[in-house]
Symmetry: C2
Subunit: 214 residues, 2 copies
Amino acid sequence: MKNKSDNKEPKMDSRERILQAAVFLFARHGFDATGMRELAAHAGVNISMVGYFFGSKKGVLKEILDSFLSGYLAIAREELAGAGDLHTRLERFIVSTVGYFDVQRDSLIIAISELPHDDPEIVEHKAGWARQMVGIVNREVCQPHAAETGKYIPPTSLSPMLTVLMASRYLFAPVMEKVEPGSSETVSREEYAKMIVGLVLQGITGSESRVTKS
Amino acid sequence: MKNKSDNKEPKMDSRERILQAAVFLFARHGFDATGMRELAAHAGVNISMVGYFFGSKKGVLKEILDSFLSGYLAIAREELAGAGDLHTRLERFIVSTVGYFDVQRDSLIIAISELPHDDPEIVEHKAGWARQMVGIVNREVCQPHAAETGKYIPPTSLSPMLTVLMASRYLFAPVMEKVEPGSSETVSREEYAKMIVGLVLQGITGSESRVTKS
DNA sequence: CTTAAAGTTAAACAAACGTTTGATTAGGAT
DNA sequence: ATCCTAATCAAACGTTTGTTTAACTTTAAG
C-alpha cells in the first residue's frame, strides 16, 4: 500500500519545496536575514540540498527573480503590443499585471525589496530584464503617446512608475494591515486594478472605472 | 593653532558620523547585509560606539526611519492641509515631496526596502507614522475628492500609491543606470515632479505640466 | 545482479556576526 | 586634589553564518 509516485503532498520535489520556502521567507524576513538552516527546515530538507540544487543561497534568489520577472515581461509583451489603441492596451496591461502581482505577491516583494541593493551579480540580472521592459514600454507606450500628444515620457521613468504603482498595495500590505486591520480586503483586486487604470488614464478625477469618453 | 570646537570636518560628532555611514551603507547593501565592522570602519569609529550611542544596530535603523518619516509627514501636514483647492494642494505636496526624496534618497530607499519585512519592532515603528499619514490623506484628499466626484478612494490605497510613485525614480536608479547610463540626469527633478503632478491630476494624457483648465 | 547516477545525510569548516566587557582617557565640577 | 561622567578603545564573548566534504541511500537502467 505504499504509493510510489502517485501522491504529491508528502513527497514533492525537494527542489520545488526549497523554492517555495525561499519565496515565503525572503518576502517576510528579507533575503539576507533568512538563514540557510531556517530555509532548509521550512522546506523540510537537509541544508546541503540548497547548494546541491542551486549552487548557493544567491542561486535561489536568482531563480526566483528570473521566474517572476520573465512572467512580468511576458505580460507586457502580450498586452502592450497587439491590437487596440493606447488606452485599451494600457488597461489590458494593468488588469493582467495586477492579477499577476496578486498571485505572485511574495516574489514581487522580493524583487522590489532587493531592487536598490548593489550586489553586482544581482543587479546585472535585474538590469537584463529591465532593459527589455524599457524597450517594450518605449515602443508600445511612450512613442505612440508622443505621436498623439507631442509630449514624450522617457520609458526609464514610465516603467518604474507603472510597476511600483501596481505593486504599492502589496508592498505596504504588512504595514497597512497594522494601521487598519482588514484594509487589504476592503478593496478587491478588480477594484484596485480599476483604480489604477483610472489614475493612469485620467488622473485622480478618473480613479473609478467610469470612462465616458473612449 | 589648535581649533577646539570651531572646525567641523575633522572632528565631527561620532554619533553623526555613524548615522551618515549607516544611511549610505544600508541603502546600498541593505540593513542585514551591512555588518557592524563595515559600518564602524566607514564611519571611522570604534565598533562599540554603535552600541554606545544607539543601543544596537537596529537602534540605528530606527533612528534613520524616524528621522526620514517624520520629515515626510511634516511635508504632508504642511502642503496637503491649508489653503487652495484639491489640485493645488496636491501639486504643492508632490513638488515638495519629490524635493525631499531627492535630498534624502538613501533614507527613502532604506524605508521602502525594509517596508515589507516583518520584524515586529520595525513594523510597529512604521505603522505609527503610516497611521498619521493615512489620517491626513483621508481628511485632506480622499474626503474632499469624494465630495467633488462622488467616488471615494480609500487612503490606505492612495497613500501607498502616491508615495511609491514619487519614490520610483530613486528605487530604480541603480538598475536604470545600468540599463541606460546617464538616464538619471536626462530628467531633472523639476521635470520629474511635473510628470507626476500631470499623471496624478490628469492621467497619462497630462503628464506634462500643461494645465489648460484649472 | 551490477553499476552508475542522482538524491540525501550528518558533520565539520573557517569566517563573520552583533554584542559586551573592562580599561583608559580627557574635561569640567566640586 | 578628588570625583564624576561621557567618550573611546582593543579584545574577546558565544553564536550563527554560508559552504563543503565524504559517506550513505535510493533509483533506474544495463
